[in-house]
Structures are given as structure tokens and as C-alpha cells.
């Protein structure tokens, strides 16, 4: 929907097991472990927790029409499982780095479970190898009743262009709150599909994307929030700044199913094209099958706000600085709060 992609770029042919490693900041990791939680490597589904295995199975069943997901399931399973038990609030932000060392194409899976009434902040950083390769990353997660997950995902590549397929499906239960940001700071081609399912009453999700496209990057990102219960709340905010010959395509979908009365869904996606050969589009969609809801969307593709630029220049700032301020200003709504504050 909206994203025109060439499956060739992201196909699963000849995926092999590869070398990767993970590490986390010790303070947060100890806090997690002391609370009975864990991060565990798995090399086959046998090594998953019962809940993890169940989550993965139901995810695959629910996505039988998703070709990439099916192909992913045919690769050998490897990845990480993170479990936070019920009624735990982690004070420290968990900073998780996953580094791919070899240049082989890899399929990697991560399972996340935030227990009922728990709270955590998680930042995942995916580091690519220095040479070009292809990574297919799948995340399945559950944010249980009354819990809160603040999730920041970053893809970080070096100088070489990479090919990335990023699929992530998160489920929110009763009154759970998800605040999720995605920053694909990697060169090359990125196809991202991020789905949040608001399964139970009162759950809410905010999904933000911030993207700087350069050179001949091609980035297609779809954010879908699926309201399946009453009084659910969602926001999608996407911002992309495009340089050189970058292409960025954003699709945001707010889906409100029958029975999800009192749902509130809004989305705002904007692209700023800095250079004349950059291009992109934003496609906001609302699919609504219930009367008693609030929903809205806004979208734009444009250049600098001329009026604001003029205002800044009129105080004496040189053009390059004034433009940088406007770029930061444009990105501000999707940046994590702590990098904005000082």
C-alpha cells in the first residue's frame, strides 16, 4: 500500500547463519536481571520461552499473507529474546547494541515481552558490518496490560550502502502504552514495516519515524496502527529530510475496526526535500469501520518554510545556519525528548 518496492532488493535467497554479537549497558542489564528478567540468545525456536514461542507462532499465523514474514520463517531462527517480568519498573534505560560482523546476508529475530504493570525504556541499535550486505530483521513483541514500553530503534550503517528489511509487530494489551521511535540511519535501501496492534481497551501507541535520506538512498516505511478495541489511541508522526538523490516513501495507516468505538487515531507525515533531485511521497490512510471515532491526518512534501527562513535571516544568521535550524525544527516532533532537551 503506497510503497512501491522491488522484491529483488530484499529477497531471502541464500541467507546463511552469520556472526553477530550483542551487548547492553551493565547497569540496566543488572537491574533487569535482578528483577527476574533476561536477555537470551536463541539459535532455534526450541530455545525460546514458552510465551515467546507462542507469540512467534501466532504472529506467523496472523501474517500468512505477508510473503517476507513467511520467507523469514523459513530461515534458521536466531536472535534474542528479552523478557521483563510483571510489575517491574526499570529505572535505567536499557541500551542494547546488536552488531553484525560478517558480510553475509542475515535473518535475525527478536522477541520482546514487557510483563503486566511493568515499565521500561529500551534503545536498540543495530550496527551493520563495514561492507555492504543484507539484513532482514524481525521483531515480535507484547506490551502486556497496564505496562509501558518506550522503544527507540536505530539502524546504524557505516560508509557502505546496505539493504535492510525491517519488520516489527508489537501488540498492546489493556491500558498498555507504547512509545516507539524508528530511526533508520543506514545508507542504501531500507524497507520498513512497523505494525502496532491495539488489542485491548484503553491501549495507546505513538509511532515516530525520523529519516535523513542521502545519496541514492531508497527508503520505504510503512507504519500501521490497528485499533481492535474501544477507547484505543494512536499517533503516527513521520519526518524525512532528503538530500542529493534520495528517495523516501512514507505510508501511515490508521485502521479502526468495527467495535473499536471511542478510538482516536491521528497521523502526520512530512517530507522536506532539500535538493532538487531528491524525491518522495507521503501516503496517509485511514481505514475506518466504526462510527464513533476521531481520526485525522496531515501530510506534506515541501522545501524550507520560506517565511521562517526569512525571519531567521532577518536577525543576521547566515543562510546555511538558518536552514540547519529549520531542518532541526522540522525533525523536532519525532526526535526523542532527551536529545532535544539539554
Amino acid at each position: 500500500m503506497g510503497i512501491k518496492y522491488d522484491p529483488q532488493n530484499f529477497s531471502y535467497a541464500s541467507m546463511t547463519t552469520t556472526k553477530w554479537s550483542w551487548k547492553a549497558n551493565p547497569l540496566a542489564l543488572q537491574e533487569l536481571q535482578a528483577a527476574g528478567g533476561r536477555i537470551q540468545v536463541f539459535g532455534s525456536t526450541q530455545q525460546l520461552s514458552v510465551a515467546g514461542k507462542r507469540l512467534l507462532e501466532s504472529e506467523l499465523q496472523a501474517n500468512v499473507d505477508n510473503q517476507f514474514m513467511l520467507e523469514h520463517a523459513q530461515q534458521s531462527w536466531q536472535g534474542l529474546e528479552l523478557i521483563l517480568p510483571a510489575r517491574v519498573t526499570l529505572k535505567n534505560k536499557l541500551h542494547l547494541e546488536i552488531t553484525f560482523e560478517a558480510a553475509q546476508p542475515s535473518a535475525f529475530t527478536m522477541l520482546l515481552n514487557v510483563g503486566a504493570g511493568s515499565q521500561m525504556q529500551l534503545e536498540r541499535e543495530i550496527h551493520y558490518p563495514p561492507v555492504s550486505t543484507r539484513l532482514n530483521l524481525l521483531t515480535c513483541g507484547k506490551v502486556e496490560a497496564d505496562s509501558r514500553l518506550n522503544l527507540v530503534d536505530r539502524l546504524q550503517g557505516g560508509q557502505s550502502p546496505q539493504q535492510s528489511l525491517w519488520m516489527a509487530n508489537l501488540h498492546c494489551q489493556k491500558d498498555a502504552q507504547l512509545d516507539w521511535s524508528f530511526y533508520p540511519e543506514v545508507k542504501g535501501k531500507v524497507l520498513g514495516k512497523c505494525i502496532t496492534v491495539l488489542e485491548e481497551q484503553g491501549s495507546s501507541a505513538v509511532f515516530k519515524v525520523g529519516q535523513f535520506g542521502r545519496r541514492d538512498d531508497w527508503i520505504g516505511i510503512q507504519g500501521l496502527i490497528d485499533h481492535r478495541a474501544p477507547k484505543t489511541f494512536s499517533r503516527i508522526k513521520m519526518r524525512g529530510v532528503l538530500y542529493e538523490k534520495a528517495q523516501v516513501y512514507f505510508t501511515s495507516i490508521g485502521k479502526i475496526n468495527k467495535g473499536a468505538h471511542g478510538a482516536n487515531a491521528a497521523q502526520e507525515s512530512r517530507l522536506m526535500t532539500i535538493e532538487p533531485h531528491a524525491k518522495g511521497s507521503v501516503n496517509p490512510l485511514l481505514i475506518i469501520d466504526e462510527n464513533d471515532v476521531q481520526a485525522g491526518h496531515a501530510a506534506s512534501v515541501g522545501q524550507y518554510d520560506e517565511e521562517a527562513l526569512y525571519y531567521l535571516l532577518s536577525r543576521g544568521l547566515v543562510e546555511a545556519d538558518a536552514k540547519q535550524i529549520l531542518i532541526n525544527n522540522f525533525m523536532e516532533p519525532v526526535l526523542p525528548k532527551e536529545t532535544v532537551e539539554k
Binding site: 518554510d305 520560506e306 517565511e307 521562517a308 526569512y310 525571519y311 531567521l312 535571516l313 532577518s314 536577525r315 543576521g316 544568521l317 547566515v318 543562510e319 545556519d321 538558518a322 535550524i325 529549520l326 532541526n328 525544527n329 522540522f330 525533525m331 523536532e332
Partner: protein, 253 residues
């Protein structure tokens, strides 16, 4: 030194002629008021002096201290000492008020960074003077400021940047009585031999607090009458109707 000299200025916006030959001289140390009905070109003149690209000069020149500035860019004019308090200041959420003013000072200082502590001290002092709450330093530039707060913030920027020539476009509109006095206090604090100013206004009440040296009346894209402060007072009684003859007269030449 801060003299502004405008010679036979003709300006269009798009295809539309708006200014039809403006002549104006403001000497160093003087405060001039510019009045006139809605839509006569007061903001157009202000914006053209600042260099807003929406307005094209088709004839005439603008000199600041003897230098023709018509080919200078907006930021060059600002660094040359010019300031425009806009009728509708823009909001830029992504930079704090304080950071922005500091960045502007650095730019005016030839990109030599202005020491931060003295800067913050002075900012605090001027904010106190203008009775602006301390919080406003860290809020986004004009972000969610009320109309009156934005105007006060324009004066704060002027006091911090210390231009030699300032244009204040309807700085008094939307201000309550107390705010008007505070803004007037700010403008008066700037008055010196080194500073000159063009104030666009519709109302005598600002001129009660900031007494101008000269008053101009603009109609139909021209200055049709110039006088002392008493001209504004007369206008208060008679309105612009009596002057429409002057416009026709000037159209015929």
C-alpha cells in the same frame, strides 16, 4: 551613524505595483512614525528595506549610512545593523529563544562566539526590564507565544542585537495597556545618537509614549505628507479623508 535614505522607490509584489515612488530620509538618532490606511504599503516598505524576496524593487535605491543596500541579501543587511520587528513574527519551535538570540549575536559578531555567561546575564536583565518571564528564554522561538508576547519578544531581540536602524511594523497592535508601556519603554531605552527607527503604527497612543521626531503619512504607495508629532494628533481628529486629494495630486505628476 545610522541614516537611512530612500530615493524614489518603486516596488512590485508579483505583478502588482505597491510602492509608487517613496522618498524618505531618517537621520541618525531620529525616530520616525509611518501612518496610513490599511493596504497602502507600509509593511511593503518595511519588508523591502529589510530585503524580503517577496518584493521586487523596480526603481529607486535604499542607502544605509551612504551604502546602497538594495543588492544585499537579508542576512547581510541584518549584519550591517538593520532590524525589522515584524507585524507577524514566525514561530520556530526547534530552537530556544535564548539559543536563537545567541546564534544571531554570533553571526553579527563575524561568527566569533559571544561569551555565554555575559550573554545570559544581559538576557536576564533585558527580560526583567521587559517583564518577560524567565521561562521564555528556554521556550521555542515564539512557540505558542500570544500575539502580545511575540511583540514583546521582538523588542527583546532588538535590545539584545542592538541594531543601528530598526523598523517596527505595528509593534503596538494587539498589546494591552501595560504591555504597550513596556514595549515603549524598550524602544525609548534604545534611543541614542547611534540609533534610528521607523515605527509603523495606526494609533496615536504609541506616539504618546514614544514621541516621534517626524511623522509621515503614506497613501497609495507614496508618502503624501510629512510633519511633526502634531500631524499624528490632527489625523486622530480628521482621519485620512482630507488627505485623499494629496494622493490624486501626486498620481498626476
Amino acid at each position: 551613524m545610522s541614516t537611512l535614505l530612500i530615493k524614489d522607490l518603486k516596488v512590485v509584489a508579483g505583478e502588482e505595483p505597491i510602492l509608487n515612488g517613496v522618498n524618505l530620509e531618517i537621520k541618525a538618532g531620529e525616530v520616525h512614525a509611518l501612518m496610513g490606511p490599511n493596504g497602502t504599503g507600509k509593511s511593503t516598505l518595511s519588508e523591502t528595506i529589510m530585503g524580503n524576496p517577496l518584493y521586487q524593487i523596480v526603481e529607486g535605491q535604499i542607502f544605509l549610512d551612504g551604502q546602497d543596500i538594495t543588492t544585499m541579501s537579508v542576512d547581510e543587511r541584518a549584519r550591517a545593523g538593520m532590524f525589522l520587528a515584524m507585524q507577524y513574527p514566525t514561530e520556530v519551535v526547534g530552537i530556544s529563544n535564548a539559543d536563537f538570540i545567541h546564534a544571531a549575536l554570533n553571526a553579527r559578531n563575524g561568527n566569533q562566539p559571544v561569551a555565554i555567561l555575559p550573554f545570559l546575564n544581559e538576557l536576564k536583565q533585558q527580560m526583567d526590564f521587559l517583564e518577560i518571564d524567565e521561562d521564555y528564554a528556554d521556550r521555542g522561538l515564539n512557540a505558542d507565544f500570544s500575539g502580545g508576547e511575540k511583540k514583546r519578544n521582538e523588542i527583546l531581540q532588538m535590545m539584545m542585537l542592538k541594531p543601528s536602524f530598526a523598523i517596527l511594523d505595528e509593534i503596538d497592535s494587539g498589546l494591552d495597556i501595560d504591555a504597550l508601556q513596556i514595549v515603549a519603554k524598550g524602544i525609548n531605552a534604545m534611543r541614542s545618537d547611534e540609533f534610528s527607527c521607523l515605527m509603523v503604527t495606526h494609533y496615536q497612543r504609541l506616539l504618546n509614549y514614544v514621541v516621534p521626531d517626524v511623522v509621515h503619512i503614506m497613501m497609495g504607495g507614496k508618502i503624501v505628507k510629512t510633519g511633526g508629532p502634531e500631524l499624528a494628533q490632527e489625523l486622530e481628529k480628521t482621519g485620512y479623508a482630507d488627505l485623499s486629494g494629496a494622493v490624486e495630486g501626486s498620481d498626476n505628476d
